[in-house]
Assembly symmetry: C2
Homo-oligomer: 806 residues x 2
Amino acid sequence: MKNNQFAQIKISVFQQQKELEKIGMITNDFFEQDFWVNLRTFYEHCFPESYSKTTKNQKIADILVTDLQDLSIVLQEQRVFTGEMFYNAALQLLRFEVDSEFSLTKPFYFMDQEQLSYLAIKEFNNEALLEAIYLLLTTHTKRGQTYLDDLAARGFFKDYFVNKKPHLVFFNGKAQPVFDSTKIIREVVYVESPLDTDQDGQRDLLEATIFRPAETNQGLRMAALYTANPYYKGIQDIRLDLHEVEVDLVIKSSSSQTAENLGFNGDNSEERKNLPKERIPAAQTEKAESMGTESGSYSLNDYLLVRGFANIYAGGIGTRHSDGIRTCGSKEETISTVAVIEWLTGVRKAYTNKIDNVEIKAWWCNGNVAMTGKSYLGTLATAAATTGVAGLKTIISEAAISSWYDYYRENGLVVAPVDCQGEDTDVLAKLCFSRKKDAADYAKAKDIFAEKLQELKKEQDRESGNYSAFWEERNYLKDIQKIKCDIIMVHGLNDWNVKPRHVGALWQALRKVSVTKKIFLHQGKHVYINNLYSIDFTDMMNLWLSHKLYAVDNQADTVIPNVMIQDNAVSEDWHVYSDWNDLKTPRQSFYLTAKFLSEQACSSTEIQTFQDKGVRLFRQASKDAKHWEQEFLQEKSLYQDNRLIFKTRKFEQEQIIDGTIQVTLNMAVDQPAGQLSMMVVDFGRAKRLKENADVLAAKGQELGYQWKKEDLKEFILEKEASFFKVITKGHMNFQNRLSNVRNETIKPHQFYSMTLSLQPTYYRLLSGRKLGLVVYATDMGMTIRPNIEAEYQIDLNGSHIDVPFL
Amino acid sequence: MKNNQFAQIKISVFQQQKELEKIGMITNDFFEQDFWVNLRTFYEHCFPESYSKTTKNQKIADILVTDLQDLSIVLQEQRVFTGEMFYNAALQLLRFEVDSEFSLTKPFYFMDQEQLSYLAIKEFNNEALLEAIYLLLTTHTKRGQTYLDDLAARGFFKDYFVNKKPHLVFFNGKAQPVFDSTKIIREVVYVESPLDTDQDGQRDLLEATIFRPAETNQGLRMAALYTANPYYKGIQDIRLDLHEVEVDLVIKSSSSQTAENLGFNGDNSEERKNLPKERIPAAQTEKAESMGTESGSYSLNDYLLVRGFANIYAGGIGTRHSDGIRTCGSKEETISTVAVIEWLTGVRKAYTNKIDNVEIKAWWCNGNVAMTGKSYLGTLATAAATTGVAGLKTIISEAAISSWYDYYRENGLVVAPVDCQGEDTDVLAKLCFSRKKDAADYAKAKDIFAEKLQELKKEQDRESGNYSAFWEERNYLKDIQKIKCDIIMVHGLNDWNVKPRHVGALWQALRKVSVTKKIFLHQGKHVYINNLYSIDFTDMMNLWLSHKLYAVDNQADTVIPNVMIQDNAVSEDWHVYSDWNDLKTPRQSFYLTAKFLSEQACSSTEIQTFQDKGVRLFRQASKDAKHWEQEFLQEKSLYQDNRLIFKTRKFEQEQIIDGTIQVTLNMAVDQPAGQLSMMVVDFGRAKRLKENADVLAAKGQELGYQWKKEDLKEFILEKEASFFKVITKGHMNFQNRLSNVRNETIKPHQFYSMTLSLQPTYYRLLSGRKLGLVVYATDMGMTIRPNIEAEYQIDLNGSHIDVPFL
């Protein structure tokens, strides 16, 4: 196991002393006190669950500091206290076990291995003790949380505000869980948005659920963590609404469309012109009328809630208890998202219910807002950021869509997110239209929503697959220059739902925007990473948000690396970089030759052929896309006529692929339309990192005292070796080889050169491995699955793959 | 989805009225009130999360009662209120969705399908309303909980005790969540046991963790749910301690051991004679000195905690913070388990810490105790029951061991629980010896524990595999007559960890014991079933425990069926029986013929042969036991020389196997020792029930108001059809064909008849399926894996399988 902590910040000893006093870990006469008294006091603080001297001492006596002495004897005898003794005890406090995990004779060896910080001082005095205590409190336990978090979860701060006015407490730059988890206020308000998407003549009211520490009632103003979550109030079953994917490719008539004349009206929609007037408040109150319920909170939010960050969840237009209709990524959804921020910052109104017009302000809010969430949630955070709305100080945008075209389309093809074959904007709109759960409420918006669904169906245009005004509206990148808030981006390099291109494009686009931006690329799929052992993501976010929302001077902007990438070959390794996916990274070309990828180009025409008739086989096997991919890449595969594989020789030295692989192919198809799919694959038998993190300790992370828990997880190596791993993929419609807005005519059997950028990535290709290019037509898990069987040809001459090596 | 409720009890309308008044659902002038007022009052109570008239009405207006009218309009217009209207609203209150799940024109059709109770009355008046409300409150929602539980989780009881003295509240025979979840008292005491297993000259103190509602501090005495959980304080990594299983079968010398002279001294152990004196209390207190921490609670306990059942967890001897050493199923572990009950009932002492001798009584306890838990936890509940200890009113023993021999051995063979190859009593003792987590505490008991481990290693005797005094000590069935408490047994028919024989034998043995006993057999593996949709197990346990521990007159003994068995062929079907595994069930014989199972015996000698050399293949494949079993049962299998499969013809009519299949084989082996394994298999392509329940709603069940949550689960059909399913298994050492205590000599190549009882089961074999007998030697997942390759022979003449058909 390897601990990687970045949010453990260095501060002066003087400051350390002040902070330790502030949290009550040491008294203000520490340096006047006898060392042994200080030492005992510290250890007594280490057992907040023990209320008496005897029970505290019982725990102290359980700790072994040398092979022969327990800690209570050492404290009693008061002879000498070495660094080794301190760290032997410290490791036990950090939940590591003597003998099974570390040896009492070599604590530092273990700490070096485990990458735990320590103070290399032989014999301890008060000065050393103070620094060591401070460092220990900020060091991670075996549960992947700081020791102070561990103590806090066991009650360290439980009486912190007795006879004190509540306030936020920061330690080592991070907010501490001093707020009472048993008294969280849960309430609901209805924010009036500048929308009338359900066209009922009234502005859409949007339900927002607020969780805030009761201490806000005593005058404490808090920052808000806001998660726009269309799934918050539940989802609808859309299994029957999925589009048929076993359809043939449409032969598109050639067009002269350009990116400039798509016809998207960025300014305003028709509906907004007829926007009804704002409601006029009939009264004012500070008290809500409904309890907010928890349904799928983000554990990072929960963690921060008891540390002084109010949590806000809102489903947005068309979700249960809100007005309006879902429009999947539209401008209206962005406006709906932003309305809640505007309420939090005092520029928009909210009401206690939908009838009485009793206004309720976010009077407990300090006006500073951050957005969090993954997938659609992170997408809406990105969307809100691109409006430049005031008060939104930062977003933590995880596995977020940056352009909806890249979610449901690719280079003129319908390309589904993994496990979402047949889904599209209309389907997702329906899935999120949870107003349907309330039958009478649904009845009011049913017709207008049905109309909207028809419109989505038409405009998303599954027949063409081209980029259009519809997709332009849903492209947040066009508004990149409006971004004013700092941004954390998190994405899985194995995320085939929201694919890496989303974060790749956002990262690229942000180069020209003068905000602070950080990116985390992990080895997971479509998941959160705040509960991993190997990385202190939670601490970093605490540091970041304490800085952005409470202006704590904690060096968050510099302490958190610009780019952090989890290694793909070994477990628990994180690389720090200053950049990723830099277009200037030189690309090495490999040329397609008969079954090889060579550094030398093929000098004359050499045609290779593959079929596209796997759909029948796939249907017979009735397996899922994951099974298909595993079978497809076997050397002897059911599908072997349906693909060509070109492999390099074994790499003699390891290489790091960083960024976007480009492939240029000289291709023909025996039809007037064709779809091209590609994978780049790491071939070679090895135990690779699993794509799903293992649970190391179920509910092993405690988010506060008598508060929620989270599983501790880590990505570990697979138990049985595998033979290959997909590094990246790409798809293209032959007719869109030059542009995703314009169609070219394809003549059967004629060769065309087409260049395709695959999903950006980062991959450490170990020595001894081969890099493989797999060329095929139908990707069962992603593209449509034509019934017309086709034959594809590659002219190896003029075909190459260009790989950016770091 | 099918709802099966058994704990919904019928009571008089007069009693219903009283109960509804008591919980505050109706006022005491209900029958004098106008119907429409009563109706509105009821619906307002249905939204406890809405605090104002307006927000309540907002929710009421969301409900559709006819295609055109919402509930608020109907309440306003006061024209007519039909049964259909009531149940249209009711279904929405129960979280079912209009159109997607039921039609407003056919609510009763849906309720019939879903098996939801209703009152078949056309037009409602006060009388109908009262009964309908009562019935609805006891009916399950889509989340598999009663509607009253649903309301309670949303705050229905939140101010219940304002200006009232706390007391338990029962509704429909079941305790209600009226206690404050945010104020649970968590504390720790040290119970003095009549043991000194670590031989330190002091009686072993055992840590007990108590969770009790704060209302006990106001004088309310509560019953205790006690879970003896050796894993509660964590476990030790035993991967390096597992026994090597790739060893050869030992040729045992013939013996004349009988079951009568095993030499087990049941009265007392040597250690107990030298038992140190009890501690003398130096003082008394009612207040504990340490906080109890939650680490792996059972959600059924959690559910009952806020309903007025204190929860007690204790690890027992040798676990963290307790004294003593682990001895895996020994008499001492039973005594350790019982000590906590004795403290709860006032006959044994506990202390606030291990030093000061300050006594603390279970002053908040009413003296009635029940035990709960699964696996080792359930085992210790069974163990405690067999002592007849006073105060223990009932146990809910789930997936429990009834004899440790049946856990680690079978018919003279070492046979591991699934996924536990190489485990044995010494390994499990080590796994549970969590005192090791506290290095200094461990140092005190290390040597004596090492000695004990050696003793366990010797006496468990992996070479022989025979039943002995060691196993006799660990056989709870020998003390069956001492049982005084009523018993609930729960077991998975697919549990290959604690195999069905455990519950089968207990159920058999209890026939002669005059206590009330109930058994639940489900289709899961080694799991709890309190969170399934299809069965109201939680309600039944509430009913049972309210009766047993609070003497509530709720007909629990008769309402809960004696035998409930989940169907294996379809989802959500539970069968009620009066008995299971009745030895009198007639058995039908099928005779082994060349590759067939026939109703006609083979009339002359016919020898069939199989090899035992799969170990090499298994090692090469480096797959796990599950993979092995899947591969092993394929028609064309890697291992096909290593087994013989005999199948019946397709069954023309469905048959139910109930109880214990016996197999008699006439066998020879070319070695002086042999091991025989068998499976009985259902062959035929079909979608079968999955062995793991699916999560229908993550955290979908709320156990109380602002309290814990549990996933809602259900066993559903597999997505892709399978070709076979193992029904039951058995294993036998050739040398123990006559007895598991005595060895017979085996001459190579000589035929011996051996009769083997397989694990008892219940299986509905559908028409069109074949019943198969698979005979082989090494079971990779369970038996040892000899390196010596052997050849086995069956003389089909004299070989048959006898199947008990209901």
